[in-house]
Point group: C2
């Protein structure tokens, strides 16, 4: 929901024309809600049908964009749910992968939206899927009639704790990832971990990597929860089969989401390029692209975190035992700490790219102990080579 | 220039997980400058080359998008200017009319921008042209890497006082005008009326219609300036050939821009649907579309204003003599007060469309005297028919 805060006055005064310069000042207030909402498709649950909307019960219209994988597993339940709540609906299924993350897909959804017709002040668009679907639909919503409210329902773990809870939207263009996009807050993001049950376990690990990131840079207790319960969480796909496991899952998700939002909120439009949440995202974009399709996003992030953990240890910011605890947790979450693509020249290329994206400086978050971080701007090629050598030994010794 | 104001705190508290709901609040401050800057292409003027940029003199790169008509008239001077100021530049020429106002054109510009390469923190995109070019480039700038600064240089009178000074961007999609767009403030808008000299006089009248609008609804002195000097302004294409004429042109432009910005600033994202600047824009969208290509935008707006002037008179909000003054000024500015397409059924259709766009209510600004207005929600078909009859008689009697 976007509301407007009172704008400051015009800098000039109408009583004294002719003036020649005007400064227009205003502030757009962004205000959105992220909620844990388990089992959204339960027949009598009203969370999903009321989310982000103001329409009365008798003329509820909902346009949904759903990931093909989600459609196959949950499509029938979703339709039953919508019918039960008396909604007129249209479901647009998108086979979501990076190749369809294009403006063409955006325009296809826009055309379907035009055909269906929604009252953009009352009927939110609902996105159900992983990061790709959420990014595409967010862009549709920000462009359609210059803003249409939308609701995010992430169905992957990485979506639940990372891609789904921010405000970034985007599509790829040419060879460039997310080259075109906007910052557009959803009306609501609904976090339903029951979708995780049908993910394959590598996708669960993929999401756990982003949770681990938050633990490593700012929340030691979150790290310790993963150390103690991470393996079981992965095995049970976050189902929480015992009261203890359930409590741990809840606290892990809550801390991960909270930690992420704490970082995003003061920097929603990324004016600051020193972002703690970029931890694990300095070398990984290049690692991920060069290794495609071998590494998932979270896996590449984990390799980056393993490397920077070693760099931090070599700088004396982390003890040997903490380094080994970190690497042990990564293994327990079945995440890689190294990949064949990691050669020194690739890391140097990655660093150069990152510097270019961060306006000429490295701004690389490096751990200080477990749960703390600083930004480094002085990582050298030699340091990368030594750290890579140490990491290789540790990975082989395993 | 976008800067961020301090965000309010998270509504929840990390010390008490597990929580289940987070509210993210932040405010994006928008702050942009509209400046009168005559003769931007004068060889030694530094306004254009420094606008919106922070690059040092020795690595200035500028990507410009220029209307084909402007390119034909000013392209050589523009290139000379850029070379003189040591800029590396790329000029993308767009034959700007409604048919190329599409996402395809946006993507073509994006590809050219990728090829040229800019530092989006230092090198603004510069748009030079009428409303179509400004709208397209604004959309490019808001999408490219989720925001790239841009500078608007309107070259039409309607651009100078209306399309160029707000924050709306957009392209058409399917049959829908501006179906896809954003609100994205430019870094700066530079108002150079020397471009008006090469417009044909019908295009000057077209812009004067939007100036007249501001006078009618909120600035009686502006109306009176047009009454006294409008015809000469039109004949001289705003060149101000005598000191008196020059003073009048300056005051008219200053008041028009100021009046417009005063209305836009508190409602930059159009949360309020009661907009005084919608005066003349309730019936005109339909009139303009049905009459295409017969009527220019400002001409259709003028027909709408003539009709609503008569409605206001019939409601006793305006005297007969004021009504006649208004119609006389329209004629003096060589603007139509009626068009063959204006039948009662067309006006009824137009009203229905407008009500749909304004969330179920008419919200039609109607003059109260000259320089004042109220919003009407109760205009009937009978009233439209009577007003049209009266306007037809007045137009014939002319």
């Amino acid at each position: 929901v976007l509301t407007q805060v009172p704008a400051t006055a015009l800098a000039t005064d109408l009583s004294r024309p002719p003036t020649t310069t005007w400064t227009v000042r205003a502030a757009k207030e962004v205000n959105y809600c992220v909620r844990v909402a388990n089992n959204l498709l339960a027949p009598d649950d009203r969370t999903l049908i009321t989310a982000g909307g103001t329409g009365s019960r008798d003329r509820r219209r909902r346009f949904l964009v759903v990931d093909a994988a989600v459609e196959a597993l949950y499509g029938e339940r979703l339709r039953r749910y919508l019918r039960r709540h008396g909604a007129e609906y249209e479901i647009r299924v998108v086979k979501a992968d990076e190749t369809v993350k294009t403006m063409e897909t955006v325009l296809g959804i826009v055309a379907a939206l035009d055909d269906f017709g929604i009252d953009r002040r009352r009927d939110p668009i609902i996105a159900v899927g992983g990061g790709v679907v959420l990014d595409i639909v967010g862009l549709v919503a920000s462009l359609y009639r210059r803003h249409t409210p939308y609701v995010r329902v992430p169905t992957t773990l990485i979506g639940l704790v990372d891609a789904g809870i921010g405000v970034k939207t985007g599509v790829n263009h040419g060879v460039h990832k997310n080259r075109l996009g906007t910052y557009e807050a959803p009306a609501e993001t609904l976090l339903d971990r029951s979708f995780i049950a049908t993910l394959d376990s590598r996708q669960v690990s993929n999401g756990l990597a982003e949770i681990l990131k938050i633990g490593l840079i700012k929340d030691r207790r979150l790290f310790e929860l993963l150390e103690r319960h991470g393996q079981q969480m992965l095995d049970e796909k976050l189902a929480g089969r015992t009261p203890n496991a359930e409590a741990a899952v809840r606290e892990v998700l809550s801390r991960a989401v909270h930690g992420m939002l704490e970082e995003l909120q003061p920097n929603l439009w990324e004016h600051t390029l020193e972002r703690l949440v970029d931890y694990g995202h300095s070398f990984s974009p290049t690692i991920e692209m060069r290794a495609l399709p071998e590494l998932l996003h979270g896996e590449a992030v984990c390799v980056d975190m393993a490397l920077t953990t070693v760099i931090a240890r070599r700088r004396g910011q982390l003890s040997v035992s903490d380094r080994d605890r970190v690497l042990a947790v990564m293994r327990r979450l079945r995440l890689p700490v190294l990949a064949p693509v990691c050669r020194v020249d690739v890391l140097v290329d990655a660093l150069r790219d990152t510097v270019r994206h961060r306006d000429g400086q490295q701004r690389i978050p490096l751990p200080v102990g477990i749960g703390g971080a600083v930004f480094a701007n002085d990582i050298t090629e030699e340091e990368l080579a030594s750290a890579l050598e140490e990491l290789t030994e540790l990975a082989v010794a395993e």
